[in-house]
Subunit: 350 residues, 3 copies
């Protein structure tokens, strides 16, 4: 855990973040914790009633919870409508980003002008023609091509690669091993089966407040651009192919693959290891379960799941039946035998 | 988009690439574009008759198309048998690789002799005993081990890693985050369940004209080599395990995993997120659909799909039936009740 | 292959590793090989009786095999209960790790004190506050954050990234592109659908003798730590989400994804491309087949497979039935028609 934070009094927290304080407002908390592991100088939260009985035994110095659980804890507490969101904000308060030294490390190779507030780590490289915003942080080992724009307050962790011409929005966070702007997978087939490369001349445009996970790759567009809109959150090991557009505030969990030219709407949530084929349109507010294989466009908001995919409540039935498939086959076999017997008898009667 | 190209006249293009010119050969085009977004100084293409009506409204200065669509556009045009392939070549002409400065950046650590025409980027490392071909480009942050061979004209984008002893063919393109020659996953199990590492002493041999996507990994062989033959195209986030052999001109889309010692034939096409288990033989000219799970060798060219996989046209039926599985179960239940009723009546009649 | 090894006599090998020597103990072997490719100065092994007839034609100078096959080869041989494990140890003997130069390359940026026996490659970075064990090897291009602990004898291949505060055990091996300690995917949703980041303040703790493959990512814990216990082996392209715990000596093949807070027991084996959702408990000694989608906790050791998963022997039946699904549907249709006919006749009889 990050050491050395001075912490906050509960009344200071409520003054900054709202919520209703009950109990001793002078209680100081230094860090967030889970109910089960919290120490007296830590603040925990309850967002799922399943864990409500942990309130009895927790050593937490304070708890964030909803009104309906507020009487189940007698210590200092903050009552709020959305304890999980409130907890996120308390944690942001208690865990501010450590300062990075402004300026470029002497070992960095920087061929563009930087604002004085930007930070560039050891052995990082920034090509010519780049624009870097105020307070941007480019960690050690990052390689930024030429003519790249990096927004104010963006944070690139170590060993991120950004190809020529791409755009990274303000306050975007890119984790190590992320690759932005590699060539899309575009080839024309020759008669004998050889592949002729189609130059990938589009860019990747990443909006503000986007987060991109470790070892995730986003290909540049073939002709037009690949676009990740504001507020999108991408987990690790994701592949976004050329010319995709991911709508604002969509969240995509790890190991997802999205093939070329597919458009995902806004506020979608896509579960881990889902695979979405190319040239589809997924509308806003779609929820796709983990490991779903999406093969058709989706025009109706809702939850989808399965292989092949279908509305999630249908897939739950299909999945249950799948485990009965062998007994269904046995029943059909039995029905056939009995029916044949009956048909024979019947012929005898006729 | 890449700026500053001088462009080509249509008659210059046809002189270089063939095809039949109709209309004004002096028309100069600067860049390729899609029919829907093209500007007058750009050249577009029509390879799918579905988009033929876009010819009416396109602002493109010229279009590449097939003979059967040639009369649907009245502006300058190039008629050819395979417009998509022709378009790839026009785009290669209009988007030549930017020149890279010959020689090694002062911050690079190079322990092998380089030809004067090779380019090594900032903070790249090349170990001892390497052979680097004429015109090879090794971008910033690449780490090349010892005794590696890199063919003439090969291009390694930023932050590629090549382990000791591997071979990269001529004109190969490796994208950022690619890892070539990491140890295969080889362990012998001890009685108590611990694993004893089997040294991975093979190499990775990559042929000429191979392209390898971002964050793709190819393990070195356990004893013999892992081999990627000429002209293979690998997309991003692919895993090729030790001792695989991928046949010439096979194309593999993103997120595919191929387990150890599997051999894939020539000119195969493998869809995204397909998974192929180890020790299989897939013959030449096999097409595997996205998200297929291949568990047996394939000896007959053709299309395969599904989980578990089967010939694609069979899987399409299976997939349709999967969505009916719950209603099939209900029908069996109904049949059982009706048949039991009939059997009872029949016993009554006897 | 690694050149220059002096090799060992068979009697030297048996003196070190045990086993029963038959034939000429003075035979010297330089390298391991497969039966089919072995040369006279190489030693091969037979661990699968399927390949026993290769013993007749092999050119191997010596063979490691079990007692029941010992008479099928007349040359020098070593008889042992577990030939595969013995072979692993012979290969370790013949392929010792090459020496790395002790000390830090002048281009490395090292802000912590190193033991004299540690090796740090070109352009690597080690932040302040780190503890590095004796004989640890940190290859070129690795970026190690602040306050990281790296155990004695650990080996980080080129371009590995370790975030602040993480712990790497003794003799651990991390392959290129591995990312340890990136932020977990944790966000609280605001009313309008925006995501508020939950600071990820846990660490990643990696035990002794762990191996981690190329481009694998392991996220730091949200509050508590993500833990990889001793002896775990992870292949390439794996995603381990925040707060997972992987039990000792568990082996996980490539392309697997494990969602947050899932706990995997000890000595499990998880096949390639399996996906395991979050908040599950998998007990010790579970074997999960490749491409399985695990959606519930597992409390009984054994083999599991399928989508959705079930005990492996059940899934094998389900998978076989899946390919019959279309004919099952046709049979139901036929049964319905025949039964309706019989019911009609029956009504006529009544």
């Amino acid at each position: 855990m990050v050491e050395g934070a001075k912490g906050y009094r509960l009344d200071e927290i409520v003054a900054k973040l709202g919520g209703e304080l009950r109990g001793d407002g002078a209680r100081r908390v230094m860090q967030v914790a889970t109910l089960s592991n919290a120490q007296p100088e830590q603040i925990a939260f309850l967002s799922n009633s399943k864990y409500q009985k942990q309130l009895q035994d927790t050593r937490a110095g304070a708890v964030v919870l909803a009104a309906d659980a507020a009487d189940a804890f007698s210590g200092p507490r903050i009552v709020t409508r959305n304890p999980y969101l409130y907890f996120a904000r308390v944690s942001q308060l208690l865990n501010p980003l450590e300062a990075a030294p402004a300026g470029a490390h002497p070992s960095a190779v920087v061929e563009s002008r930087l604002p004085a507030s930007a930070s560039v780590g050891a052995n990082a490289c920034i090509g010519p023609g780049c624009t870097v915003g105020e307070g941007a942080r480019i960690a050690s080992g990052c390689i930024i091509g030429r003519d790249v724009k990096i927004g104010a307050g963006a944070r690139l962790h170590a060993n991120v690669t950004v190809y020529d011409g791409c755009v990274i929005g303000e306050r975007a966070i890119l984790h190590s091993g992320a690759v932005i702007g590699s060539d899309g997978f575009g080839f024309a087939r020759e008669d004998e089966g050889r592949w002729s490369k189609i130059p990938q001349i589009g860019r990747v445009i990443i909006g503000d407040d986007v987060e991109i996970g470790a070892n995730t790759s986003i290909d540049r567009g073939a002709i037009d651009d690949t676009v990740i809109e504001d507020g999108v959150k991408l987990d690790n090991q994701i592949q976004i192919a050329h010319n995709c557009r991911i709508g604002a505030h969509t969240a995509i969990a790890g190991c997802v693959g999205i093939a070329g030219s597919t458009r995902i709407g806004r506020r979608c949530m896509i579960g881990g290891a889902a695979m979405i084929i190319g040239h589809l349109d997924i509308c806003d507010d779609v929820v796709i379960s983990a490991a779903t294989f999406v093969t058709k466009s989706i025009a109706t908001p809702g939850e989808y799941a399965g292989i092949p995919f279908e509305p999630r409540r249908e897939w739950l039935k299909t999945a249950a039946r799948l485990r009965q498939l062998d007994s269904m086959a046995a029943k059909i076999h039995d029905l056939e035998a009995r029916l044949a017997g009956l048909e024979k008898k019947h012929d005898g009667h006729s």
